[in-house]
Amino acid sequence: MMSKPKLLIVDDDEGIRTQLKWGIEGFDIITADSREKAIEQIEAHRPQLVTLDLGLPPDVEGTSEGFAILAAILEREPSTTVVVVSASEKDVNSVKAVEKGAFAFYAKPVDIESLQKILDSAYLSISGE
């Protein structure tokens, strides 16, 4: 039996992390709530997929920390597929996220079914199945 692909959920909101773990299917889910933790998990588990919230401490109301994590992940594991999830409504952030190497940008509030479809298609595109 093939092992499930690994998905890293990076979000400072514990409730989001917990419910995504229950709701997203087909992935072996690991979580992180900060840059350090995310990089730790990347280096330890090398997940194929990452969902990344942009508003993380210390810049909870901005996006600087989220983009810094995106850069750090892709620097270490360039093949990682990152889906950026953000409450930001600014188009500029979605464009920037893709420019910086994200696979897709998903605007909060999170709808499990939609996110599941995005993650499935992301995994399909990298696994070639």
């Binding site: 419910q19 229950w22 109301e61 920037k96 910086k100 499990i112």
Partner: protein, 712 residues
């Protein structure tokens, strides 16, 4: 002898003052120089007479000095005569011939006088007929030149120069009288001689007035700069008038007492008290003071205004907050006080295509709405004139020949409305002030008032515009705050919706799983906490912090650990000299802010570079220095962008350094930055120590830092 000493002593002092005043300022002015010489020679002569009458001797010297004095006054008159005749070659030639002839004559007299010096009293000596005749001729010559000067002075200049001619003429006339008498009686009258010093002293103030009145009398180019403050003239005039009034009252009181019989003393006391009360009332009447001021401006000064004082007063009125008076009221007052107007109305441009009444000061309540394209607004905008409604009513053509102008009803119906002063900002009409009639200035409004009001209007417009910009900025900041709060609310609500909707959708699959129920409860609890935090923030209580005293060294160790957990390079090196450096702040926020600067340094520095974090104590501050060997920043970037929110080199939102500085300032500290492109950067944070608590000391210390550090 005593009278003579006093008489000539006063004359000496006054001529000396006049001479010295004339020597001030620029000297390349012939009339001014000759007047200075004449005054100083007169002072020396008067001084020698004073000395001679007290100590004796110096007789021959005094005699020679008197002739020299005559020569110097002649020189001055001839220079003025040349000016009056206009300067042509022929006149110059005549001038030189006349002056040479008179000089020969006077020098001849001096030689004769020296020849005849043989002791005896001064009067007997001067009484020698030939010398007497010489003095008489000098006096007559002087009077003739003055008569010529008066006739050749233009009407415009005569007003200013007449006191000069009267003053010098009086000197020569008295000399003529003195020496005529001496010629007739063969001796100089002692009393007349003694009075001569007083007479000469009396003419000095007249010369001073002439100089002040007619600045251009000295060849029309350079003026003699004697400063006579309007305030001094005002007070002197008031004092003089009061003095004269009191003398009359004194006489009146005496008369009342003499004629009052049994009631005499009572009547006198009542009369005096009533009179003094009347005087006090008059002196405190602003109307009377205004009239005196106008009278002085009209009769004593070339220009109506002391521009320096007016300008200072305008700026003072506009700048200094008086009670609860708004800037708009002060703008009206600053213009009104120039022409003693008792009130005014400010009309400002609005964004609705109209000019509307804004503020009023002693003006009847009125709502004005004047369309921007009305003839009044267009006239003021295009011509930027001060409109005198009196002038307009008397002769509308004066204005309408420049462009169409109809005075609107709200303005023409107010019979007290007098002037409309435009407020021009960068050639744009931003409003105008309607001023009420000033009784003191009635029928006394000319180009000077108009120019000053127009210029003051520009100044007021500038202040009003600055005020409105500041208001707009405050509003913009409020909007920005609301926007930030809205963004925060939207962010949190989205998260809560996401959490709860996921609980609902997950429940469909996992509701029978006890572990899911546990997690669902935790998620709901998390949402409730978020909602509570949101409420706190919406109530404006979000900024409440958990301030606590903590060791900065420990906090730095923790921050560095956090920044290197994920293997980010380079690893900062901590250098704490004193581990017991305590500060009072919110530990979490402080940690986040320091971590932010360290992360910035890591982002800017190659893995092989270095970052050093130093902590030390300096007076009442803890100083944290974060030094990196990264790419550095240019002076321009530091100045223009580093502390601007939403500016970043990293393509991010870039509010971090801005927030750090705001937080450090909030703690009473300071953030300095030094950087060089290609070399690295230094962020220096001053944070007040917990044990020091005097705000004043902090400010002083920070000011010292300001002087020696580059604070951005």
């Amino acid at each position: 002898m005593y009278v003579e000493i006093v008489s000539f002593g006063i004359s000496t002092v006054l001529f000396l003052i006049l001479g010295l005043v004339m020597l001030t300022g620029r000297r390349d002015n012939l009339p001014k120089t000759t007047l200075a010489v004449a005054s100083l020679v007169s002072a020396v002569w008067s001084g020698s007479v004073t000395y001679q009458s007290y100590y004796g001797g110096l007789l021959s010297f005094t005699l020679l000095l008197e002739l020299l004095r005559s020569l110097s006054w002649f020189a001055f008159l001839l220079v003025m005569l040349r000016t009056a005749y206009k300067s042509t070659d022929q006149v110059n030639k005549n001038f030189r011939l006349t002056f040479a002839g008179l000089s020969v004559f006077i020098v001849g007299l001096m030689m004769l006088a020296m020849y005849r010096i043989s002791g005896g009293s001064l009067f007997e000596f001067i009484a020698g007929n030939d010398v007497l005749i010489g003095h008489l001729l000098i006096s007559i010559g002087g009077l003739v030149i003055i008569e010529q000067l008066y006739r050749n002075t233009s009407e415009e200049q005569r007003w200013g120069l007449k006191y000069l001619w009267i003053a010098i003429g009086a000197m020569f006339a008295y000399d003529f009288y003195l020496y005529s008498d001496a010629f007739l009686f063969q001796r100089i009258d002692n009393e007349f001689w003694n009075a001569r010093g007083f007479i000469h002293a009396m003419v000095v103030p007249l010369i001073g007035i002439a100089i002040k009145r007619e600045m251009q009398w000295s060849l029309g180019e350079e003026s003699i700069d004697i400063f006579l403050s309007r305030r001094i003239v005002f007070h002197t005039t008031t004092l003089l008038a009061s003095g004269i009034y009191l003398i009359f009252i004194g006489f009146g009181g005496f008369y009342v007492r003499e004629m009052g019989g049994g009631w005499g003393v009572v009547a006198q006391a009542t009369f005096l008290f009533a009179s003094i009360l009347g005087l006090v009332i008059v002196l405190f009447s602003s109307k009377v003071r205004s009239r005196i001021k106008v009278m002085i401006d009209k009769h004593f000064f070339h220009y109506k205004y002391d521009y320096r004082e007016e300008w200072l007063r305008i700026i003072r009125t506009l700048s200094i907050q008086e009670g609860d008076k708004s800037l708009h009221v002060r703008a009206i007052r600053s213009l009104a006080q120039i022409i003693n107007s008792p009130g005014g109305l400010l009309v400002m441009e609005r964004g609705n295509g109209c000019f509307e009444s804004d503020e009023r000061w002693n003006y009847e309540p009125i709502h004005v709405r004047e369309p921007t394209n009305s003839t009044l607004n267009r006239f003021l905008s295009e011509h930027q004139f001060v409109i005198s409604l009196d002038e307009y009513n008397e002769d509308p053509d004066m204005y309408t020949r420049l462009g169409q102008l109809d005075i609107p009803n709200w303005l023409s119906s107010n019979k007290d409305a007098w002037l409309v002063v435009p407020l021009i900002l960068q050639e744009h009409l931003m409003g105008y002030v309607v001023l009420l009639r000033s009784s003191a200035h009635e029928r006394y409004f000319n180009w000077e008032d108009s120019d000053l009001l127009k210029t003051a209007g520009r100044q007021a417009a500038s202040h009003l515009s600055q005020f409105e910009s500041a208001q707009a900025l405050v509003n913009a900041k409020r909007f920005e705050e609301v926007n930030r709060l809205s963004a925060f609310i939207v962010h949190d609500i989205k998260n809560m919706i996401g959490q709860l909707s996921m609980v609902v959708s997950n429940a469909a699959k996992h509701k029978n799983n006890p572990m899911f129920i546990d997690d669902a409860i935790i998620t709901v609890e998390n949402s409730v906490n978020k909602m509570n935090k949101l409420l706190v923030r919406l109530r404006g209580e979000g900024e409440v912090e958990k301030a606590a005293s903590f060791s900065l060294c420990e906090l730095l160790e923790e921050s560095i650990r956090n920044c290197t957990k994920a293997g980010v390079l380079p690893i900062p090196v901590l250098n704490c000299r004193n581990e017991k450096i305590m500060v009072m702040a919110d530990t979490d926020r402080m940690s986040v802010n320091i971590a932010h600067i360290i992360q910035n340094a890591q982002d800017a520095t190659d893995d092989a570079g270095s970052i050093t974090v130093k902590l030390r104590k300096d007076g009442i501050h803890a100083i944290i220095e974060i030094v990196d060997t990264g790419e550095g920043m240019s002076e321009k970037f530091i100045h223009d962008k580093l502390f601007q929110p939403f500016e970043s080199t990293k393509g991010t939102m870039g509010i971090g350094v801005f927030q750090v500085r705001e937080y450090i300032h909030k703690l009473g500290g300071q953030l300095d930055v030094e950087s060089e492109v290609g070399v690295g950067s230094l962020f220096r944070l001053y944070i007040p120590l917990h044990e020091s608590s005097t705000g004043l000391a902090q400010v002083v210390n920070l000011n010292e830092h300001e002087k020696r550090k580059h604070d951005v």
